[in-house]
């Protein structure tokens, strides 16, 4: 190659040299990004359900609808682990040596926001949960130091990796419980098969020991789903099939329900929370956004066209946003002029609304095939309050 390339190079230079009145020869470059995610940038997951080996996430500037860039994921691509500072993130991924078969490798790859280039890799046990992505599948600790990965083989466990050391801390068995809901820098909650929740406590090195277990918090007749939303540093809100809400606090010895009521009141008329990511919470404003539709309990994953907005302090519905098109996932930006994001599984479009007015601002189209998790620029969990 070397002789040919040299000829090629010389020819290229000769070709470019004459600069007349015409358009000038251009220099090809590579774009870079801000050090930290701006408040109105948002990641959108495309699990690529029809081509699951080619999952990815798209980064959108919601202020102008610009597609800023993307990262490629692995088989059954799930949520990104966004560092709360917004400057780096982790892509947990599963790969097969022959695409759809062969040897399996599960790996965490660290990326910097400013260049979206794959950096450090951490090989983890090849047990990562595979399925429809949820918020509880994997995450980072609130200080961004550790990655937490839910495993299902169908044995249940959690892998912890130290991102700064680039090494796995360990795999910790969590029999009967799964999913990961952080409630502080070194603790998280899990949901258990009998309707209870369990705490998991991490030491400074990231080692996990089991914490307290609650009594069953919900009944088999009206289970809470795994589509929860964080509403405080130590608090998550869960929704049952019948749209009861439970706020569970994980700051104490064991998970504890600190509030419980019905979103739809005594006469729900079939109204129900539904979708893949059916709720969002604006921390500073204390507002809860819930995606609603009418249907039976078997419709809990169905799309909705209304977003009900609640003031979490008063539990009152203070606003209703009528989406222009149905959605299965919603999210809100965390700044003072929040945007509401909405996508529907199977529709390659991100819709962007003004959260205050409910007015649709713009849409970004041609986004792959099957959008699931929406991840706005993160907020510091310390800013969440209790």
């Amino acid at each position: 190659m070397s002789r040919l390339s040299l000829i090629a190079l010389c020819a290229a230079i000769a070709l470019v040299a004459p600069a007349r009145a015409e358009l000038q020869a251009e220099q090809l470059s590579v774009e870079t990004l801000p050090e930290k995610l701006p408040a109105h940038w948002v990641w959108v997951n495309d699990v690529a359900f029809f081509n699951m080996a080619d999952g990815r996430a798209y980064l959108i500037d919601a202020d102008n609808g610009r597609f800023v860039g993307m990262v490629s994921g692995g088989y059954g691509h799930g949520s990104l682990g966004l560092d709360p500072r917004g400057d780096r993130f982790v892509v947990p991924a599963t790969f097969y040596s022959r695409g759809s078969r062969g040897d399996r490798t599960d790996v965490l790859t660290l990326y910097e926001t400013k260049n979206l280039t794959p950096g450090t890799e951490i090989i983890i046990p090849a047990k990562k949960f595979s399925g429809i992505p949820f918020v509880g599948n994997s995450t980072l600790t609130d200080d961004g130091r550790f990655a937490l990965i839910y495993n299902f083989t169908p044995e249940q466990s959690v892998t912890v990796a130290n991102l700064d050391k680039g090494a796995v801390v360990g795999e910790f068995q969590t029999p009967g419980c799964g999913l990961i809901y952080p409630v502080g820098p070194r603790r998280f909650m899990m949901q258990c098969g009998d309707g209870s929740m369990q705490l998991a406590l991490m030491d400074a090195e990231g080692k996990v020991t089991p914490g307290g277990v609650s009594k069953p918090l919900w009944t088999q007749e009206d289970l809470a789903t795994e589509k929860a939303v964080r509403v405080g540093e130590s608090r998550w809100m869960f929704f049952t099939y019948n749209s009861q809400v439970f706020i569970v606090d994980g700051a104490g010895k064991e998970p504890r329900v600190v509030d419980q009521w019905s979103l739809v009141g005594p006469n729900p008329d079939g109204w129900r929370v539904g979708g893949l990511q059916p709720s969002a919470y604006h921390t500073a404003q204390g507002r809860l956004y819930v995606l609603m539709h009418q249907g039976g309990p078997e419709t809990r994953k169905d799309p909705g066209k209304q977003v009900w907005v609640f003031d979490l302090r008063t539990r009152k519905k203070i606003q209703q946003i009528d989406l222009e098109t149905t959605a299965t996932s919603i999210a809100v930006s965390q700044d003072a002029k929040p945007l509401l994001y909405a996508t529907e599984f199977g529709v390659p479009t991100l819709n962007i609304y003004d959260a205050a007015s409910g007015k649709k601002l713009r849409a970004v189209d041609q986004l792959g095939q099957t959008l699931t998790v929406i991840q706005p620029a993160p907020v510091q969990p310390a800013a969440m309050g209790r």
Binding site: F50, N51, R104, F129, G131, L179
Partner: protein
């Protein structure tokens, strides 16, 4: 009831059937007697389009077919398999989720095992998601949001889903 017992119960319900002999036998090791298990059958690919088996009505290539009341994925009936067979070259998952569906032909409820077929990429045909009785993923035995290509030799890559009658419910 201890947590381990709960998992055992869960897995008992989800496993439900010895499908992939080598996989389950591999796990059981010397504990299980192979003689008690029927051989894994093979079936000639039918030249016909999907038809309901005897005693049933409806179209197994349609999402509203009765057995699919809790399914989520691509119907094997559209992918070279059938309601009870995997497409050629795929591997059935030995463990899976189950649902309970009512057969309109006899008015009875049946336990249906939604075994995934694995080892080739998504078939992409006849996508179907119904959630009657579907549970959250922390109750895995009834959860259709999980990729059930687990415990296979070929790995977790998902091709399509079957809907096998295990027996009458209750």
């Amino acid at each position: 009831m201890t947590r381990l017992d709960r998992i055992a119960e869960i897995l008992a319900r989800q496993a439900a059937r010895a499908i992939s002999r080598r996989s389950i036998l591999g796990r059981l090791g010397a504990l299980a007697s192979a003689a008690s298990l029927p051989a894994l059958p093979v079936a000639r690919a039918s030249a016909q389009a999907a038809k309901a088996p005897p005693g049933e009505t409806g179209d197994p290539a349609s999402c509203d077919y009765w057995r699919y009341c809790a399914i989520d994925g691509f119907l094997c009936s559209c992918c070279g398999g059938s309601v009870s067979s995997c497409p050629p070259g795929t591997e059935p998952s030995p463990i899976t989720w189950v649902g309970t569906c009512r057969n309109p032909a006899d008015g009875k409820d049946y336990v249906i095992s939604y075994n995934d077929c694995c080892g080739k990429a998504a078939c992409g045909r006849c996508i179907c998601n119904r959630n009657e009785g579907d549970t959250p993923v922390y109750q895995p035995q009834g959860a259709n949001d999980i990729n059930w290509c687990l415990g296979t030799q070929s790995g977790i890559v998902y091709n399509c889903s079957t809907a096998v009658v295990l027996g009458a419910a209750g």
